[in-house]
């Protein structure tokens, strides 16, 4: 297991998620770890990565130490190529201009469905969460990368409420519901890197982080995981990755 004193779990998440982004891609990034990871990727290996924000921004370059408090603030537009209406930027997803959607999540299930609306279901919620924002639109219309903390209460067999669709009930149920494109591609946690089985669409482990065991991941997950035959091991964060990340977020706004 990666030594905790070297970096926080959020730093690990941000760095491993950043590696999933390729140069030249168009990525629709949510606030927090996604925004940070996309900006990190841009400064490390993907200088031509185009970042879109929900507030209506195409191709911004976030300034180190000036992370925006949401994706709807003026800081998101710094040195952008284009600022446009919020509906317009979301419609880019629908038209197909976006390669990857990238967001966090409160609760995820074995088919990659995300819940950010209700703990306990909509009729008698024990907690009313903020809701979907653009999450449902992004998850409905793009290939998805999700970054989240790995806890058993967050990795559940069936989410209480499908706010942002993954593969719904697995198999072809996503396409049959009217979502013929997109779907969950990767989930990055502080324990492992996940993909989804091509047929059943259930979550599978692609690589474990250094020092993490299969049992440890399974014990922290509320459903039976599939393990790839050739499950790999992720490379730990490099000094360079940590250095740039900490320049971007010196106050640990998103990486505490």
């Amino acid at each position: 297991m990666i030594k905790a004193q070297h970096h926080t779990a959020s730093e690990l998440l941000a760095i491993l998620a950043a590696r999933e982004l390729k140069d030249g891609q168009v990525v629709f990034a949510g606030v927090g770890i996604p925004l940070l990871a996309a900006t990190l990727a841009q400064r490390l290996h993907a200088p031509g990565l185009t970042i879109l924000f929900e507030g209506g921004v195409i191709g911004a370059f976030i300034e180190p130490g000036k992370l925006p408090p949401s994706t709807n603030d003026q800081r998101c537009t710094k040195r952008a190529n284009m600022v446009l209406g919020s509906a317009e930027v979301l419609l880019l997803l629908q038209r197909g201009y976006v390669d990857v959607g990238f967001m966090g999540g409160a609760q995820i299930d074995q088919y990659g469905n995300l819940n950010s609306s209700f703990i306990g279901g909509p009729e008698h919620p024990s907690v009313r969460l903020p809701g979907t924002g653009g999450g449902n639109d992004i998850a409905s219309l793009a290939q998805m990368i999700v970054a989240m903390r790995h806890e058993k209460r967050r990795f559940v067999e069936r989410v209480d409420f499908v706010t942002s669709p993954g593969f719904l009930r697995g198999g072809n149920s996503r396409a049959e519901s009217g979502l013929p494109t997109g779907g969950m591609m990767r989930v990055v946690t502080d324990l492992a890197l996940f993909g989804f089985d091509d047929t059943s669409r259930r979550m599978k482990v692609m690589a474990l982080h250094p020092g993490v065991t299969r049992e440890q991941v399974q014990d922290n997950t509320g459903f039976a995981l599939i393990f790839d035959d050739d499950t790999g091991v992720t490379a730990p964060p490099t000094d360079q990755e940590l250095k740039v990340l900490r320049e971007l977020d010196p106050e640990q706004l998103y990486t505490a």
Binding site: N72, K78, A87, P125, V127, S177
Partner: protein, 317 residues
């Protein structure tokens, strides 16, 4: 929920759409909103929120407002915490990203004091857009298959007669009145918006009445020199109010960033006690001051200047 086309047309025909001055005070502007109205709110999250207008409506003790906004921040807390709004239509309702879940939202929704109708962000936009275009719905390709659509029977699944695709038709949203804050407009209501526009143009065209608050009123001559910079036409506007710092403590693009010390103190206070803390906040910052300027005094010049300095920095190279 979708209004009759003939009713919408008649309401619009009755509005005085002539080129006329319509400058009023913040207090006078509150009379354009009636108890029970549906109210569309411009801006998004902590940006270009018409906070001064919301502040004035709370002071005017409006009742049973049904509010809609693409993404709702502490404006939503104040609307429901003050009791003037009992129904919120939005895609996200929280104070911001950084402070966990709003206890004011939780308290009011979980105890059934208010209704919170959740739609996807794009769906809210397409509902305003349908309203702006004078059609009863827009087709979209999101929300399908999710529980967000399952608990919104107001949206209808539909098989496309051209392609056989499954689409969702979301109903037009034509608020009785829209509250929109802009950087500048003329006395007739021709408005310029710098930077992020959010859904304000569709909202303005969809609403049956528009109250504009503006950082600054400029001459009609200035507007006419760059007519392609006008984002909302005068004939869609019913009242114009000049309110410097009209989005405080939120931001106004290019002019000021959010006033984070005030926001943090607010969040600590209301999340500590969503009823008592909110009451104290309203007493001190909303009911207490004699004017919006006095409210700004309570925020303090140092924090205003800091926000202005950060706000202008977006134009730095």
């Amino acid at each position: 929920m979708t209004q009759s086309y003939l009713k919408l047309r008649q309401d619009l025909q009755r509005r005085d759409r002539s080129l006329r001055e319509k400058v009023v005070t913040l207090e006078e502007a509150t009379t354009f909103v009636r108890d029970g109205d549906s109210v569309g709110i411009g801006g998004s999250t902590m940006s270009r929120t018409p906070m001064a207008m919301i502040w004035a409506l709370i002071r005017a003790r409006r009742k049973k407002l049904s509010c809609s906004r693409c993404i709702t921040s502490s404006d939503g807390d104040l609307l429901v915490g003050s009791g003037i709004c009992d129904h919120m239509t939005t895609s996200w309702f929280n104070q911001g990203i950084l402070w966990g879940v709003s206890k004011v939202m939780r308290h009011n929704v979980e105890t059934g004091k208010i209704r919170y109708d959740e739609w996807s962000h794009m769906a809210v936009g397409m509902r305003f857009r349908a309203g702006a275009m004078g059609v009863p719905f827009m087709p979209i390709r999101s929300m399908l298959g999710s529980d967000v659509a399952r608990i919104r029977p107001e949206a209808k699944e539909f098989t496309c007669p051209f392609t056989g695709d499954t689409l969702l038709l979301v109903p037009a949203l034509n608020p009785d009145v829209a509250l929109i804050h802009v950087q500048r407009c003329d006395a007739y209501g021709n408005a310029q918006i710098d930077g992020l526009q959010f859904m304000d143009i569709d909202l303005a065209m969809a609403a049956n009445k528009v109250i504009l608050t503006t950082e600054r009123i400029v001459s009609n001559d200035q507007i006419r020199r760059a007519p392609d910079q006008t984002k909302i036409p005068f004939f869609a506007v019913d009242a114009v109010v000049e309110v410097p710092f009209g989005s405080a403590p939120h931001e106004c693009y290019g002019i000021y960033e959010p006033m984070s010390r005030h926001m943090e103190a607010y969040v600590a206070q209301v999340n500590g006690d969503p009823v008592g803390g909110m009451k104290d906040y309203l007493d001190r910052y909303v009911y207490g001051p004699k004017s919006w300027t006095e409210f700004l005094d309570l925020i303090g010049v140092d924090e205003l200047l800091e926000a202005v300095n950060a706000g202008r920095s977006i134009y730095n190279d």
